[in-house]
């Protein structure tokens, strides 16, 4: 699961050779460790209007005043190495309004530190908007996605798209901004995340936003599932680790690592939802977060697809989630700002040859969370999906070597992500501050070439 190429182009003689040959040189990404500064250096906030002032104020204010205590600048200054660039474009009404902030941003792009963050804050283009305003707003989408592709050195570009009527300082908006600025979003790139409402609440402690919450993670014995368990526990949650009885040995190790509990249950069992809920309530007194991570692949060209290969993938990856959600939603015990986070896949968005069954199930997940979110809204709840791209796991380690090497480079960061990258995104969507993000899909793909 190690990326030998990435190591070679970043060290010693091989690094020099790679540079001379003009080979792609992906940068090792910085990942989050508790206690590290939110942003490692000065932040440039550009834009016009009171939204820009509000964002700059939040970033600059001392922690005692619920600010983030960052070194914030409002104008490009020469010889500064910027750790982050925030473009507040929420008040543009015409494409011309983009020019000044964008060109000022352009002047500092060569001065970004490695692993820098570029984040736009904008409004969604609506059908009822004046054509010029809609053009300006939609323009941000193309701008951000293109800019993200130009960034180097492990830097990323992402956007927060805040619905009309929702302040840019709403919990989910600042939660998303903070996530994109932090190293938690190391492998999230070129994404525009919509904030739909003011629902949600800022955590008392940004290092432990899930304190007091009880989470269930399915497929928790290995890979991405185990990483999700670790990150949720690190963020303060009590975790119930769920996997099939056959994976019980690894499951016990994961549960013991985070001082959670192990529950051996097949998610496709008729009573899986009931058993999960009963366990969480009996042992931990509540259930707040469900992460539907359990999933399987049975790749085959559709022409060769056997009924069982189609059926088992659909049963595990989507039907089980639907059934468990129904149990939770009708139980009356999943009502305190609950969070459902499902694992989709870029295959479910862009399609992948030989994965009609998998992509159907993962596309299904996207549809499911969109339709489930409104059902949770009365309780301040959300349902969202995370769509990983190429992640270094046991599953992708089985891809033939050359195919794997190519697949790794097909994104703006020119490398595969780590399970922890998916886990960080899941943890963000499961957090109290993400309450205003409902029914959305956030890709963790390093801005893969395919799909949105």
């Amino acid at each position: 699961m190690s990326d030998t190429y990435l190591r070679l182009v970043n060290s010693g003689v091989t690094a020099k050779i790679a540079k001379q040959l003009g080979l792609p040189r992906p940068s090792p990404l910085q990942r989050y460790t508790p206690g590290q500064p939110l942003v490692d250096g000065p932040v440039l906030v550009l834009g016009t209007g009171k939204d820009t002032d509000a964002i700059a104020g939040l970033l600059a204010a001392p922690t005692a005043d619920f600010g983030w205590d960052l070194d914030v600048h409002r104008h490009a200054t020469p010889d500064t190495r910027w750790a982050a660039l925030v473009l507040v474009l929420s008040e543009v009404v015409h494409p011309d309004d983009l020019t000044a902030p964008v060109l000022e941003a352009a002047s500092v792009l060569r001065s970004l530190k490695s692993g820098a963050r570029v984040v736009t804050i904008s409004r969604p283009a609506g059908d009822d908007d004046a054509p010029a305003m809609s053009a300006a707003r939609q323009g941000v989408d193309g701008f951000l996605r293109s800019l993200a592709k130009e960034l180097r050195g492990g830097s990323t570009g992402n956007g927060v798209v805040v619905a009309d009527g929702v302040p840019v300082t709403a919990p989910a908006a600042v939660g998303a901004l903070r996530f994109f600025l932090s190293t938690r979003s190391a492998f999230v790139d070129g994404q525009l995340l919509a904030v739909d409402s003011e629902t949600g609440s800022l955590p008392d402690d940004w290092d432990r936003p899930l304190a007091g919450r009880v989470a269930v993670v399915t497929g928790a014995a290995r890979g991405i599932g185990a990483a999700i368990v670790d990150v949720l526990a690190r963020d303060g949650a009590t975790v119930v680790a769920v996997d099939v009885p056959a994976a019980g040995e690894q499951l016990a190790a994961v549960a013991n690592r985070v001082r959670g509990t192990a529950l051996q249950v097949d998610v496709t069992a008729e009573d899986a939802g009931r058993r999960i809920l009963d366990h969480a309530l009996a042992r931990h007194g509540r259930l707040d977060i469900v992460v539907h991570n359990a999933g399987i692949t049975r790749d085959k060209l559709l022409a060769n697809m056997k009924p069982d290969q189609w059926g088992s993938v659909l049963a595990v990856n989507i039907a089980a989630q639907l059934r468990i959600n129904e149990t939770l939603l009708t139980s009356g015990d999943f009502t305190d700002a609950p969070r459902i986070v499902s694992l989709a896949s870029t295959s479910g968005i862009a399609g992948n040859r030989g994965q009609t069954n998998y992509a159907t199930s993962k596309g299904g997940v996207i549809g499911m969370v969109r339709a489930t979110a409104p059902l949770l809204a009365p309780f301040g709840g959300t349902a969202n999906a995370v769509a990983p791209g190429f992640i270094e796991t046991e599953m992708t380690a089985r891809i033939p070597a050359l195919t794997r090497q190519v697949a790794r480079r097909l994104n703006s960061l020119q490398q595969g992500g780590q399970p922890v990258d998916v886990a960080e995104t899941v943890a963000f969507l499961a957090s109290p501050q993400a309450g205003g993000i409902v029914g959305r899909v956030l890709r963790v793909c390093g801005q893969n070439m395919v799909g949105q």
């Binding site: 016990a252 959670g260 009996a282």
Partner: protein, 441 residues
Amino acid sequence: MATPTPQRRAYVLGGNRIPFARAGGPYAHASNQDMLTVALDGLVARYGLQGERIGEVAAGAVLKHSRDFNLTRESVLGSALSAETPAYDVQQACATGLETLVSLSNKIRLGQLESAISGGVDTTSDAPIAVSDRLRRALLDLSRAKTAGQKLAAAAKIRPKDLAPSTPRTSEPRTELSMGEHQAITTAQWGITREAQDQLALASHLNLAAAWDAGFFDDLVTPYRGLIRDQNLRADSSLEKLAGLKPTFGLGLDTPATMTAGNSTPLTDGASTVLLGSQEWASAHDLTPLAAVIDAEAAAVDFMHGDDGLLMAPVFAVPRLLARNGLTLDDLELIEIHEAFASTVLCALAAWESDDFGRERLGLDGAFGKVDRDRLNVHGSSLAAGHPFAATGGRIVATVSAELHRRRVARLAAGDDRPPRALVSICAAGGLGLTALLEAA
């Protein structure tokens, strides 16, 4: 006869074991300590006991290496439990696992403990191999020798034949007869037929397979080393297949040999643990008591000089246990009799059904009673699961406690408040028998 004084109750709160493996199978290179540690860790994971200081952990093994000194404490130290958890070892042959449960639950009833974990482990794959006595003496002399001359003299005493290892035996030290040969004598004594034994063996396999299929063991077993189910289990067993097996024990007796590899338990590797606690401790840890450990009774028979077979001691323990608690066999909803051999169970049932035996040996007015077969080993037992000696007690108690609780919940839902009871009976080498009474919580 003493009457039990009312004490606070000790509860079975849950259990965990690893699937039982055939000797020389997946656990061939696992030690007793490995298996007991992983069984403890599975229990810790299931009940969220990481870093918890448990009142006491007692477990043991029948076949122990000299390195298994302080086996249970070493296993606790290797587990996710608090290192401040005390532990001790017990060895009472096949009754080891049940004996640890009985003694720990008694401590809970007395208020000496709030929580405890009982357990047992055994490996016949990684059995200790001792050197011959002559070699051992020579080696000890060698280690004590000071001069080169003394060393040479000590070493010179070693003969090539001394190097042959002395392998562990399952035979009785006092009779030199294997357990199977002992049971073959008892089987003949009670006239137990081959068909009856095969039927019991088949029921064991089918019942255990059904329980696995129903997910009954999802909360009781954690896989280990790639083994997901009990390896000895034959879900496709049939009377025809069992009837085709050649007898293995009792070949030298005057009566026809009836005991085969199919109706005898094979050598097995495995480990089991049971979590025990007071009501207060259970509540504080959000755990639901499954069953209360009500009482226990041990017995022993003089298998060397008397009329009773090596494995017949429980036949005497059970009537005493039930009488003390004012119960009869009919008051028990579940009866778990360890299937050392199918005929062991059938001999016990025959003895209890015998008027003569009841009058002459048990001191009753007549027969002790008849065991309904539909209450006997309802989820299978050792014939199908296998029998890693010291691990069997924990397997049986955890299984029957889960079943008692399941029935209790279903019955309460139907408005019936009477808690079902279960009997656990385990025979052991040395003519020992240990029995316990449990009641659904």
